[in-house]
């Protein structure tokens, strides 16, 4: 056999081997694909069909109970400490709620943010997010309260002991807070707090940010702007952490409004 013939014969053998392997692979792969595809298809069809059927049945069923969001109808809301199982941001429409007293009291909060929609029906934010003691476990960083806060008469210890909170957003109106302890320890132990924005000229009783050294400049100014002018009335105190730097102009604004600045 010549070299050329030998090469040609080997090439033909290689091609035959390739074809044989390909055919064997196909023979093995095809039935498995049929089985797996059928199982996957069956399961997906079953799940999708079930979900669609359930939703349709729920929407169209008569005489039975329907899954309805009851939060907009609640007047008082208090969560169990088992709220700690929730890790996604949460939004609650609580426009009918009249009291948020202890709503998240002593709950470990691992969701990054809680948003509460309220209305002027709400008058009580006492202990709303208070923890039982210094909270070194929770990881929540942001709370936002959206709605009319002008009828709230107490924020007593509303965020006390919550060390992880950095931002408390919303326009907090203190117009209806006229009792001395309505703001007591509102931000007690809020050591991470950076942002809080009161409505201008509404704070009329003593308020303290003594545990919050990290207030951003905009927040500091907003707090000072939030102090009502108490000229002719009893002097109240505004307490900032000793590391919070205030300009001489800011200090003058505080005392000109008849407030005592404590640091």
């Amino acid at each position: 056999m010549t070299l050329a013939e030998e090469v040609r014969e080997k090439a033909l053998q290689l091609k035959q081997d390739f074809d044989d392997v390909k055919e064997a692979g196909y023979a093995e792969g095809y039935p498995k694909g049929v089985v797996d595809g059928e199982a996957d298809g069956y399961n997906k069809g079953k799940t999708d069909g079930y979900n669609e059927g359930y939703a349709d049945g729920l929407a169209n069923g008569g005489g039975g109970s329907q899954a309805v969001d009851l939060f907009p109808y609640m007047k008082i809301v208090q969560f169990d400490s088992a709220f700690s199982e929730i890790t996604e941001p949460q939004v609650f429409h609580l426009e009918q709620v009249i009291s948020l007293n202890q709503t998240f009291y002593n709950s470990r909060l691992f969701c990054p943010k809680i948003t509460l929609y309220i209305s002027d029906k709400c008058t009580n934010l006492q202990h709303t997010f208070r923890y039982g003691h210094i909270d070194t476990v929770s990881t929540i960083e942001e709370i936002e309260i959206i709605g009319d806060t002008s009828k709230i008469t107490t924020y007593n210890q509303a965020f006390n002991y919550r060390q992880s909170i950095k931002r408390i957003l919303g326009a907090f109106d203190f117009s209806s807070c006229t009792v001395a302890n309505s703001t007591t320890a509102m931000f007690g132990n809020c050591t991470s707090l950076q942002e809080f924005y009161p409505v201008a000229n509404t704070i009329k009783v003593a308020i303290s940010f003594a545990n919050s050294p990290n207030l951003i400049p905009a927040c500091k100014q907003a707090i000072i702007n939030g102090l009502a002018d108490l000229t002719g009335q009893t002097t109240q105190t505004i307490t900032f952490h000793k590391d919070v730097v205030l300009s001489e102009e800011q200090k003058a604004t505080i005392t000109l409004k008849n407030w005592t600045l404590v640091q």
Binding site: T154, N156, N160, A185, T237, A252, W259, V262
Partner: protein, 61 residues
């Protein structure tokens, strides 16, 4: 041109001490000149901790 005459009374606690009016405490109290300074007294750190704790425990009306 504007003129501002700032009249303030500043109470400064001695080193290692704090000022309190029974509700809040700090090292420096800057107040209007005609504010009642007699409500402020000097306390030790231990007393400050106790007052802060008492105010944190103070609950609903």
């Amino acid at each position: 041109m504007r003129e501002e005459i700032l009249t303030q009374r500043v109470l400064i606690a001695d080193d290692g001490y704090f000022l309190t009016n029974g509700k809040t405490s700090g090292e420096v109290a800057t107040m209007p000149i005609d504010a009642d300074a007699s409500v402020w007294r000097e306390i030790t750190e231990e007393e400050k901790i106790a007052i802060d704790k008492e105010n944190s425990e103070e609950t609903e009306e």
